[in-house]
Amino acid sequence: MSHDFDVCVIGSGAGGGPVAYALAEAGYSVVVLEKGPWFTEKDYYKDELACCIRNAYTPDLKQQSHVVETELDEGGWRRRETAQDTSWNLWNGNVVGGSSNFMSGFFHRLKPVDFTQLSTFGPIEGANVVDWPISYDDLEPYYTKVEQVVGVSGRVVDHPHQEPRSTPDFPYPPTAEHSISGLIDQACDKLGIHSVPMPRAILSKPGLGRKSCSYSGYCGAFGCETGAKGSSRAALLNHAVAGGRCKILPDSQVTRLQSDSSGEITAVEYRDNNDVVKHVDAAVYVVACQAVETSRLLLNSTGEKHPHGLANNNGQVGKNLLFAGGGAGSGRLRYADFPDEKRQELRQVGPFINRTIHDYYVIDDTDFGEKQKGGTIDFVHLHPNPISRATRQMRGPDGLLWGKPLKRKLERHFRESSYIKIEAFCDWMPVDDCFVSLDTSVRDKWDMPVAKARLGFHVRNLQVGWYLASKGAEVLNAMGAEDVVSFASGSPPLNLMAGGCRFGDDAKTSVLNADCRAHDVDNLYITDGSFMPSAGSAPFTWTIYANAFRVADKIIERLGGNKLQSLSS
C-alpha cells in the first residue's frame, strides 16, 4: 500500500524529534506536523516581553485555551478557563522544536529504582503506583545515545546514587560554573552529603554542527541563539531535514486522527496556515504533542472502533497525568558578607550553578517514616527576568508597596544580593484526580473541544516535597545564605507534564504496550512524556528523548530495518 510518507509525526518537541531523526536516518520518509511557526536561531533574542509576558511562542488563549480544575480546601473543584485566568496557561512552546526550545536543559536520567517502584516499596493508598514494563537496562543505551546525539555536558562523580552507565563519562565537559557552585560543594562537604554536578543539554564546546554556549545568563524560557541548547529543533530536526528525508509542516494544527473499521489510523486531518482542511497519510503514526494535548487529540479522534476516542476503549486515555515538582525554596547571598574579590565573582552573570543532590533519592530516615521514594534537589540561579522579579517586590506588609519605599526595595533586591533557588522533585504520584478529559462547552477556533485538566495531587507529594526542600535549605544555611525559605506545593509546574497515556502490559490499566504502541491501534505510537506511568524524581526531558529513540528503533524494526544499511551491505 502506498502512503504519502512512511511515518507521520505529530508534534516536533522532545518526543517527536528523536523519531523523525532516527527514521529519516534509517532511510524512511518522515513528515512532522507542528502547530506552531518555524523559528530559527535568527528569531530568538533575550526578550522578556516576547518569552514571558506577551507569550509570543504560545497560542493566543482567546482562541485556544484550556480548562483547569484545582481542588478547593473545603472540597470540590474550582474550574478556570485559561482564556480568562491566564496564569494557568498549559501551553509551553508551540513552535518547531516545541518547549525543548525553552528548557533550561537540566538533565537527569531516571534510576533503576524508578522502574520497580511498586515491587520495591509496595502500594501507596490513593495512588496508582505500578512497575514499568521495561527496566533501566532497556533504556540505558538510549540515555547514552542522547548524550552523544543531542549533546549532554557534565562530569560523572562517584556517589551512592549514581545510576549505572555504559560509558565512563559525558561526551562534553561541564559548562562553565559560577562561584556559587564551589560554595555549595563546601556546604555539602560540611553536611556530609554529596554535591553532584548537574548534566546539561547544553554544548560546552562546538560540536554536532552547532556552536557552544555563549553564557548570556538567560537560558530557561528563552530560545537559544547559538544552537548550544539541545532542543529537538537544533539537535535533531535540523539534521533530519538536511538529510532530505524529513519534511516539517509548521503552522499545521492536527484536529483529528481518522480511523477505519479495523481501528487503524487511515489519515491525519489538519488545518494549514490558512485554516484549510488537509490530510496526510502514513504507514505509522506517532503522536507527541505534550501530555495534555496528546490525550486531547486522542479523545477528539473518535471512530467506528473507537467511540470514546482513539485508543480509549478501556477509558485510560488522559488518566494518571503527572508533573515534576513538589518542593521549592530560596536564599540570598548578601554581597556585603563577602570579601571584595568574592563579591565580583558572585555578581557575575553567565556561568551556571549546575549542582544537584541525589542523597535523598530514596529516603531511609526513621524520623520521616518507612523507607520510601524521595527525589532530587537542584540548585539554580534565580531567573534573571527583571520585570517578573520587580513585580514580585510590590507586595508590602500592609498592602501594595509604591512610591519611594517600593523604589528602595527594588534597589535592595537587585543590587545587594545574589539569589539561589531550590527546586525539589518528588515522585509525583499518579492519582485518580489528576487527568485530562474534553470540555465540550469550550472550543478552540477550529471548533474542537478543548482539554480539561483536573489537577489533584497526593499528599505524599507535599510530604516528600517538604522533606527535600528543607534538606536544600540546610545547604543554603550552611553556605551563609540569608532569608532562607523552603516549602512544598501541590500546585503542579505546568511546564513539566507527563502521563495520560501510560504504558504497561495490561490493556485495562494502560494505553500503550511496552513498545509505546497503542494496545488497540496497531499503527499508533506515542513518544512524548505521556507514556510515563510514574514521573521519576527529576525533570524528565532526557527520559522523553531516550524513550523516543528507543521507540524509534521499534518502528524501524517494524518497517523492515535500516534501509540504508541493508542497501550498503
Binding site: 516581553l49 506577551r54 548570556s216 520585570i387 513585580t391 501594595l400 512610591g403 519611594k404 537587585f414
Partner: protein
C-alpha cells in the same frame, strides 16, 4: 504578523518617542477633549500621568515613571489592537475610578491634589474599591514594563532602568525588526 497592527503599533511608538525627545509632557500636545481611540480624554490622561508619577516618583538618583515614559507605554497598550478589549475597559475604568474617588474625598480631580491627598485617594481605592487593588497592581506592573523591558520597545530609554538597578541584560538583544509582534 498583521501589517495593520505593525503600522499602528509603530506609529504610536514614534509619536511617543517624539514627544519625549522634546521633553514635553504628553498632554501638552494638542488633543481633542473627547475620548480618542485610546478611549481616555485629555483630562483622564492628566489623571493617569499623575497616578503613575505618584506610584513611581522621579528622583535625582533614580528614574521615575516619567523618565521611563510609563504614560506613553500605557497609551500604546490602550491603542494596541492586540490588547484584549476587556482588559482595556478594566484599565479605563480604573482611571475613571481615580477621579471619582478624588471627587468623593476632596471634590477635586486627582491631578489637582496635594501629595498626601493623592496617597489617601489611592490607598482608599486599594482598600475599599472594587478592582481598585487589582488596577493599582496592574499600573505598577506596567511601570515595570516601561522601566525594565528592552529599550527597543520604547520604554527604559538609554537603559536607564537597567543601569539604575545594576541589571545585566541578556544577549543578543532584540533588534527592531524582531520585536515580539513581528515574529
Amino acid at each position: 504578523m498583521d501589517r495593520r497592527y505593525f503600522l499602528k503599533f509603530t506609529s504610536a511608538g514614534a509619536a511617543a518617542t517624539a514627544a519625549t525627545t522634546a521633553s514635553l509632557p504628553l498632554y501638552a500636545a494638542p488633543k481633542q477633549q473627547t475620548a480618542g481611540d485610546d478611549g481616555l480624554s485629555d483630562r483622564q490622561w492628566l489623571t493617569l500621568d499623575a497616578v503613575l508619577d505618584h506610584l513611581f516618583p522621579s528622583e535625582a538618583e533614580a528614574p521615575g515613571a516619567r523618565e521611563v515614559m510609563a504614560v506613553h507605554w500605557l497609551q500604546r497598550v490602550l491603542r494596541d489592537d492586540e490588547t484584549d478589549e476587556v482588559h482595556k475597559q478594566f484599565l479605563r475604568a480604573g482611571v475613571a475610578q481615580v477621579d471619582e474617588t478624588s471627587a468623593e474625598l476632596y471634590q477635586k480631580t486627582f491631578a489637582a491634589l496635594q501629595h498626601e491627598q493623592r496617597e489617601a485617594v489611592l490607598r482608599h481605592m486599594e482598600k475599599s474599591k472594587q478592582q481598585g487593588r487589582a488596577w493599582l497592581q496592574e499600573m505598577i506592573r506596567y511601570i515595570f514594563e516601561a522601566l525594565l523591558s528592552d529599550p527597543v520597545y520604547g520604554g527604559n530609554p538609554q537603559a536607564v532602568g537597567w543601569k539604575w538597578l545594576q541589571h545585566t541584560p541578556g544577549f543578543p538583544r532584540p533588534p527592531k525588526e524582531k520585536r515580539y509582534f513581528l515574529l
